[in-house]
Symmetry: C2
Subunit: 308 residues, 2 copies
């Protein structure tokens, strides 16, 4: 089989640390182009995605790793140019945009893959298997980190469409929606906005589900200078417990480590992308983005005691 | 044909002014039950929907006209009891809830009808026909009214999940999404929150569309004490113009009145509900609710110069 010649649009930290190594280590792919406005001096770099579409040699696919705002227009033009498209999370700024891309890909017989990297931890799949068919007594999501460490000096996270604490929180939603054995509905959300910010710095969320009569809670907080905690703990009414630690990387079952083996998040994403392209299928899960939207629809607004 | 025995859950202003008369004037329906917690003394009234489900005689369908918050649970239980369900707008508080109801209705072979009353104006269908296949040069939506006139003393509109100015604004979205000849994407939204309110009192919105290179704007405002203006004006690049006035009730084409005939909003809703039940089909258009969610996802937040 000929390799899939792929371009990477947006050479930020996530592209350099995760996408490029995962592409280079997968023999089904060949890195054929990158797009970075300035700074990149490689022979395959283009200053804009339009120049890439016009001038790159025999592209088959693109991975779009820019911030969410411009993703829709780039993805639309790449699909219109006949390329398979992979999107970093969150796939687009709005729900209407991702639905439009889904239809475009289907109409053109192309693969659209809206990725949620946290879902590609082997421990997450294992937790989903373990919880399947059970009733949940309690769920507690804690997603705490220091915004200064993970987004130093970045303004876009506070601006309209920048998602705020939902930028990391949507990773928790992507895991919870996958492993929870039933529908999850946002019933309450308390959103904390710093003065002058369009997006929240913290959120306390309550869920309801037909698969649970118990307490289903989530705390997202960007004000934890003392390191990060990314955990999802569930207990079931037959006395089992499952805890995902480190953003889905590790699983405890009934308090004991439950080792699992997998490729790792981004290598598994590109394994799946190659499979989807071969089968001419798309994978577009809008649920995590819809959960953010539902938090905003039912959310109460508080002023956070912190300036940005 | 035997009439469809219908219950009406929630006897507020909209139920008494619109739903009950429309049901009584449609021979396909027979009003078999109402639900009002207190006050109603009729022989077919029940103090709760659960008592209606247990005790009402041979129900076939329900219309749910409560505020949006409790609609999901009521609709779910009514579908589970084997009833066809009609929902006032907006259908539910969150997008996850309406998707769940859609699946439940499909699994049970029942009709779910998420209504948008403004779409049932004959002038709206006529405007859609007129604009079909054209390119839009400009769209201007103005939805201005006095909140004190339309929601006197009501608190729920300002509380989390209460929609604020999107409660009337979603009517404009339901029309615009139907008549606009292409996809509409929310690209910017400026939301004005009164101090102490969880929902906005005004919103300035900009759209984009592949079907237009021009300006697509919307102004929602609840601070107009001098009467209401509910208009949608479009002009096309071949020189046509269409204006919907009075919330979709009247149509001007190229500035001249364009008379149309129809049943009126609610009689047409019940005509369509009977048709859907007969065909065992559902009609669930989530686009207007998704447009509100998209406004919140990309919206910037301002303090409104008005207390509530």
């Amino acid at each position: 089989m000929k390799p899939i010649r792929i371009g990477v649009v947006g050479l930020g930290k996530i592209a350099k640390d995760q996408h490029l190594p995962a592409i280079r280590s997968n023999e089904r792919f060949e890195l054929a182009a990158t797009v970075e406005r300035s700074g990149a001096t490689s022979a395959i770099n283009f200053p804009s995605y339009n120049e890439m579409l016009h001038s790159a040699d025999r592209l088959n696919a693109v991975a779009i790793t820019t911030p969410p705002g411009p993703r829709y227009a780039i993805a639309r033009d790449c699909l219109d140019a006949g390329l398979h498209v992979l999107l970093e999370k969150p796939p687009t700024a709005t729900l209407a945009e991702i639905e439009d891309l889904r239809e475009r890909a289907a109409n053109r017989g192309l693969t659209l893959f809206a990725t949620w990297h946290a879902q590609h931890n082997a421990a997450v799949a294992e937790a989903a298997k373990l919880l399947s068919g059970r009733r949940v007594e309690q769920m507690k999501i804690v997603w705490h980190e220091d915004v200064e460490k993970w987004h130093p000096g970045q303004r876009w996270i506070w601006e309209a469409g920048g998602f705020g604490v939902f930028d990391p929180g949507i990773n928790a939603f992507s895991i919870a929606s996958l492993i929870f054995p039933g529908s999850l509905f946002v019933s309450q959300a308390e959103l904390f906005f710093p003065e002058g910010a369009d997006t929240p710095i913290a959120a306390d969320i309550r869920f309801e589900s037909p698969a649970s009569g118990g307490s289903l809670e989530c705390s997202l907080d960007w004000r934890h200078a003392s390191g990060e905690e990314w955990t999802i703990q569930l207990s079931t009414d037959d006395g089992k417990s499952a805890s995902l630690l480190d953003g889905g990387a590790r699983l405890l079952v009934d308090g004991k480590p439950h080792p699992v083996e997998g490729l790792g998040e981004y290598p598994d994403i590109y394994r799946r992308f190659a499979e989807l392209i071969q089968r001419r299928q798309s994978q577009v899960d809008v649920v995590p983005l819809r959960m953010v939207a539902d938090c905003l629809l039912v959310g109460s607004r508080r002023l956070a005691a912190r300036r940005i």
